[in-house]
């Protein structure tokens, strides 16, 4: 329970109160995906794509221009599959094809929750023949099901998610069937998991084109139903250069409704789709470029990603040409759902294949491949694959080189040489990606390490086939996983002593007799809004050096210079609506914040008036003398407390001594600055939450005016005193409760605790499972004076306790009226 609470607590802070992060090294894993059993292959496995199952990231699928011939049965193309989070890979021949055993384009994506894998391919035989495919078992042998099959569509790029149990699939493609040359299209199905889903072609280009849009149309989904798509809106094309706008469209309803992707209009012309940049030059040279590391220019480099924590935040990357010969990547950011965009946050010259993704901590990952050469000679040129991580919009960047490989070998078998795209995505905190590169087994080519499955002798930098014969280098797909450095969360913590209530026992040595009030004032001196959490850590009750409960009071936020107060009344109303469990409580109010605050406590105390009584006496005039003239005729020796134990022989001779003093103290609460490691997994597990609940029973037949309450069960005669208390233990959590212990402490109001009784409590179902327990009230719990019997109930009282989502709801206190039977 404690562990769970801490995880939950820290998880909250990661999301809401994250302070500045500390730099550290990320964890990196790079794996050559070609399996050992096909070590002799020399295919050009370029243009890779990757799908990590968000529901179970151990399951990953990859794709590339990989031939099935020699591996698969006829007319099937393979995908790569891993069931151990990319550590090892196999080929699974489930993509329909022809005798070539390969596809033209292919991208793959898992849905959010269904385990269905979707693919968008250009199928063979055929030319620009779009197929949208699905399998519910990506390691199974069944060929993927064809969901959509039509011609004249280019570069399908699939995204998928699951909403309300329905797979939603969005395939960005350049559909030459679109009327008016407005070819940028998203083929969407909002229930793609059904046997025969319907795909609708949504045209997302609102402006006139040169006759068509550019090849890449890239969708990005967000769990809240926001869907973005980015594309090159071609405004002119001269055969060598496309003059293009970079356009972003958005849908706020998960692609539903009669006019999807129309929720973002341009601040300039008012048409659908915000133009991030306009009239940029994108080169078109559809042949291997000697001065670009053998790759071509076909304007296919766009990536878009939205922050999983905030769909308002969206990044886009694209490529264009700024000078005469360059190919430059750009990144921009919008904080207002694509309405306005930053200037370039990052540019990279002579690079291709930009891919963006954002993890749950807000880290942005930027994957790209840069052609680096000496002078104009393609000799000695190298493809350098980077992933950059940033948490401050590229103000600072952690640059990781995944591969730095020769680009002048091997010779292209076809183009694209390494691919017109690759892929980067996140699941939780982790970045997963794929790229294609020269596979020469040379550790120097992989500065952050690499693992080969295929036979490779790194000492001689030689690939070997299954017969241990030398194999020439080729282009292979490489999987990678990067886990960014975990943020150390900086929090500011304040612990203010709190005393609330009345202590009127003059013999109590824990606290002087008096009235106590505490008010804690919190002021935000920061220029920004600050969120913080308030909790109560009780020290009394209980007592005797036992730790008390920790109860969350509330999460609040203050704008600049705003202030609020936490006081006894607030705490009683929020946490103890039936009154404090004791006449007074003691403890700490803790305040935890991502920013420094001004915290001041105001302590008010006042000594109580004291009633005293003395023996009946008569004065000189025959009247009772006790206090009638304001004096105390009894003297100290006769004075007795009389509030609770008024003695029969002193029923009337009472008077009050006024309280001695009152005070107000103001104390500045010290600030502690603490660093925390984030929890390994912030996802809150389904846990039980046990609460004690009083039964609500009909009144006894012979005492219809009595409504049972406060757990007290009357005897058969229907009148007090009760002889049992009945506690309903209810599980109001989302996780099942294992067997636990319920404890009741009976307390005589006068003499104190008399008995502690426990009962085993059986397992309880989720969301309201309950059991009823009866506890016999010891006779000695009832005070002789008629003050009844007090009791404290604690559910989940065993050691160790079972894990719960909220341990602040485990107790209840009450009393049963009456005197001992």
């Amino acid at each position: 329970m404690r562990h769970s609470f801490i995880l939950t607590f820290l998880a909250f802070f990661l999301g809401a109160f994250a302070g500045p992060a500390q730099a550290a090294d990320p964890q990196i894993k790079v794996v050559n995906m070609i399996p050992a059993t096909v070590s002799g292959e020399t295919n050009q496995d370029s243009e890779p794509n990757l799908a990590v199952n968000p529901r179970d990231p151990k399951n990953i699928a990859g794709s590339a221009f990989t031939r099935g011939t020699g591996v698969c049965r006829r007319e099937l193309a393979p995908i790569f599959v891993s069931t151990d989070e990319g550590a090892t890979w196999a080929m699974n021949c489930i993509v329909p094809s022809d005798a070539s055993g390969m596809t033209s384009d292919i991208t793959v994506r898992f849905a959010g929750e269904s385990d269905n894998l979707y693919a968008g391919i250009l199928r063979r035989p055929g030319f620009l023949r779009l197929n949208i495919l699905r399998t519910n078992n990506f390691t199974g042998a069944s060929v993927m099901t064809v969901l959509e099959d039509r011609n004249s569509v280019d570069q399908p790029y699939v995204q998928a998610t699951t909403v309300g149990g329905m797979d939603q699939v969005f395939v960005g493609d350049n559909d030459f069937n679109a009327p008016g040359g407005r070819t940028a299209t998203v083929d969407e199905s909002l229930d793609a998991g059904v046997p025969a889903p319907v795909f609708t072609s949504v045209r997302i280009e609102a402006r006139a084109t040169s006759g068509q849009d550019g090849p890449p149309i890239r969708p990005a989904t967000h769990p809240d139903g926001t869907i973005y798509a980015a594309f090159y809106g071609w405004r002119a094309f001269n055969g060598a250069v496309a003059t293009t706008d970079l356009v972003v469209v958005r849908d706020d309803n998960g692609g539903a409704g009669p006019t999807p992707f129309t929720h973002l209009t341009d601040t300039g012309d008012g048409l659908v789709g915000q133009r991030v940049v306009q009239n940029r030059s994108v080169p078109w040279a559809n042949f291997s470029q000697a001065n670009f590391c053998q790759e071509r220019f076909v304007g296919s480099n766009i990536s878009i990603a939205t922050d999983p924590n905030n769909s308002d935040i969206v990044y886009v990357a694209w490529a264009d040409r700024l000078g005469d010969n360059d190919y430059t990547l750009h990144i921009r950011r919008s904080d207002d759902r694509g309405a306005t965009w930053s200037d370039d946050l990052r540019t990279v010259t002579n690079a291709t294949n930009p891919a963006l993704a954002i993890n749950k901590h807000g880290f942005v990952g930027f994957l790209y491949q840069q052609c680096v050469s000496e002078g104009d000679s393609p000799r000695n040129a190298r493809w350098v694959t980077h992933i950059e991580l940033t948490e401050d919009s590229f103000t600072t960047v952690k640059d990781l080189v995944l591969a730095d490989v020769p680009a002048d070998a091997p010779q292209p078998q076809f183009i694209p040489y390494i691919g017109d795209y690759l892929h980067l995505m996140t699941v939780g905190a982790d970045f997963y990606g794929i790229f294609s590169a020269n596979n020469t087994p040379n550790m120097a080519n992989f500065p952050n390490g690499v693992v080969y499955q295929r036979n490779a002798d790194f000492s001689t930098q030689t690939l070997l086939d299954n017969n241990k014969e030398k194999v020439d280098p080729s282009i292979d797909p490489f999987f990678f996983k990067v886990t960014p450095p975990e943020k150390k969360i900086v929090v500011y913590k304040y612990a203010a002593k709190l005393i609330c209530g009345v202590q009127d026992d003059p013999e109590n040595t824990q606290l002087a007799r008096g009235f106590y009030a505490t008010a804690i004032n919190i002021h935000n001196p920061n220029a920004e809004t600050v969120k913080f959490r308030k909790s109560l850590s009780l020290t009394f009750p209980p007592s005797r050096q036992r730790p008390g409960k920790v109860i969350r009071i509330a999460d609040d936020k203050l704008k600049e210079d705003q202030a609020l107060e936490v006081d006894c009344v607030d705490i009683r109303e929020r946490l103890f609506p039936n009154g404090f469990p004791k006449p007074y409580i003691k403890g700490f109010v803790t305040i935890t914040s991502s920013h420094s605050l001004d915290v001041t406590a105001v302590y008010s105390t006042r000594a109580l008036d004291q009633e005293v009584c003395c023996e009946r006496t008569r004065g000189d005039h025959g009247k009772d003398c006790c206090g009638h003239d304001g004096r105390d005729p009894c003297g100290d020796k006769d004075r007795e407390p009389c509030c609770r134990e008024r003695k029969p022989n002193c029923p009337t001779c009472c008077f009050t001594i006024a309280g001695g003093h009152s005070s107000v103290d103001v104390e500045q609460i010290a600030e502690r600055v603490m660093e925390r490691e984030p929890p390994a997994d912030e996802d809150e597990p389904d846990l039980p939450d046990l609460v004690p609940v009083a039964p609500f029973l009909p009144p006894p037949p012979n005492n219809p005016s009595h409504l049972p309450q406060n757990f007290c069960m009357l005897p058969d005669d229907g009148f007090v005193p009760a002889d049992d208390i009945r506690v309903i233990v209810r599980n109001q959590g989302s996780g099942a409760a294992a067997p636990s212990i319920t404890l009741v402490q009976f307390i005589n109001p006068v003499s104190g605790p008399v008995a502690t009784v426990t009962q085993d409590t059986g397992p309880l179902d989720v969301n309201g499972g309950e059991t009823s327990l009866d506890f016999a009230i010891p006779n000695e719990c009832y005070s002789a004076g008629g003050s009844g019997c007090n009791f404290d109930i604690t559910v989940n009282a065993g050691e160790p306790p079972i894990e719960e989502s909220n341990e602040g709801t485990n107790t209840a206190s009450s009393f049963c009226p009456g005197v001992a039977p």
Binding site: P35, A36, T37, V38, G40, E41, S46, E47, F65, G70, V71, C72, R73, R74, P78, V81, S82, T83, D84, T88, W89, A90, M91, N92, C93, A99, S100, M102, S104, L122, R124, F127, L128, T139, G140, A141, D154, Q155, N174, F176, T183, G211, Q212, P215, F237, G239, W284, N286, F287, R296, V298, S300, Q413, F414, I415, P416, D420, Q453, N466, N467
Partner: protein, 283 residues
């Protein structure tokens, strides 16, 4: 005596005889179910065996070394999975060779794999190929048939090639023997629609010497072929100057010329008689 089992997906012979079953679900439509009841390999018939051989890409003589077992991540062990040692591979995909001696996971199509230590000739398809290999079983034959089967496989390869070429011959518009006399390698400007998969058509002049089928009145023939290196066209034949061949030609209305884009569309002249025979068989 072979007999249908449970009247559905497979056949199994009685023990000690030439034993064969294979998955009917994998057979092409029209495959005659009555042939399942043949009592021997020879009675099964070359054509039906060819179909089975065409479906299986790994055929091996193997021994069951483990039951309810799997060595392949992604293939959970179950009653349908056994480990088999490949004692002798009869057919092996080139990329996976050699297979002899390797232990593979066999996934039984009908959920009833053979018992421990049993030996069979297994007809399989690759399922998962990683560090280890999982194969999907589509048929099983007693080991006594191994020698016969080896011979049948050799003949079957030729028959399957003929079948595929014959299928292609029936799909094209004309077949002719001819020589490339000129090639225009001018790279055309991007065509509409502009796509990275643009074939960048180039033109060759094909002088026809013999027409084997079809109507080729306009001679010489203009043969269009992709000039691009794009992946979509990577397997398309590229004619070379003075290349003489048997050309399987398809008229492409979009480009107003003939194309020969399938790797089978350009055959050595030495294959002319074979192609004549296949064309004749179609008539």
């Amino acid at each position: 005596m072979l007999k249908p089992i449970e009247s559905r997906r497979h056949l199994r012979a009685s023990a000690g005889r030439c034993l064969l079953w294979f998955s009917l679900s994998l057979l092409p439509a029209g495959f005659p179910a009555t042939t399942m009841a043949q009592s021997s390999l020879s009675e099964l018939g070359a054509q039906n065996l060819d179909r089975l051989l065409g479906l299986a890409n790994i055929i091996y003589l193997g021994t069951v070394t483990g039951t309810n077992a799997s060595s392949v991540p992604g293939v959970p062990a179950s009653e349908a999975t056994v480990l088999t040692r490949i004692d002798s591979a009869l057919t092996t995909p080139a990329a996976l060779a050699p297979l002899d001696g390797r232990t593979v996971t066999l996934i039984s199509e009908d959920g009833k794999p053979p018992a421990l230590n049993q030996r069979f000739i297994f007809f399989t398809q690759t399922s998962l190929v990683g560090k280890e290999i999982a194969l999907r079983e589509i048929g099983r034959l007693s080991i006594e048939a191994a020698d016969d089967l080896r011979r049948q496989i050799q003949g079957s390869d030729l028959r399957l090639e003929d079948e595929r070429l014959s299928k292609r011959l029936s799909a094209v518009d004309a077949v002719a023997i001819g020589r490339i006399t000129a090639i225009d390698t001018t790279v055309p400007p991007p065509q509409v629609p502009v796509t990275e998969h643009d074939p960048q058509w180039q033109r060759a002049t094909l002088e026809i010497s013999t027409v084997l089928s079809g109507d080729l009145r306009d001679r010489p023939v203009t043969l269009l072929f992709p000039g691009t290196l794009d992946v979509a066209w990577v397997d398309a034949p590229r004619p070379s100057a003075q290349q003489e061949a048997v050309w399987l030609l398809t008229f492409n209305r979009d480009v107003d010329g003939y194309t020969a884009l399938d790797p089978l569309d350009v055959q050595p002249v030495e294959q002319a008689d074979r192609i004549r025979r296949l064309i004749g068989d179609q008539r």
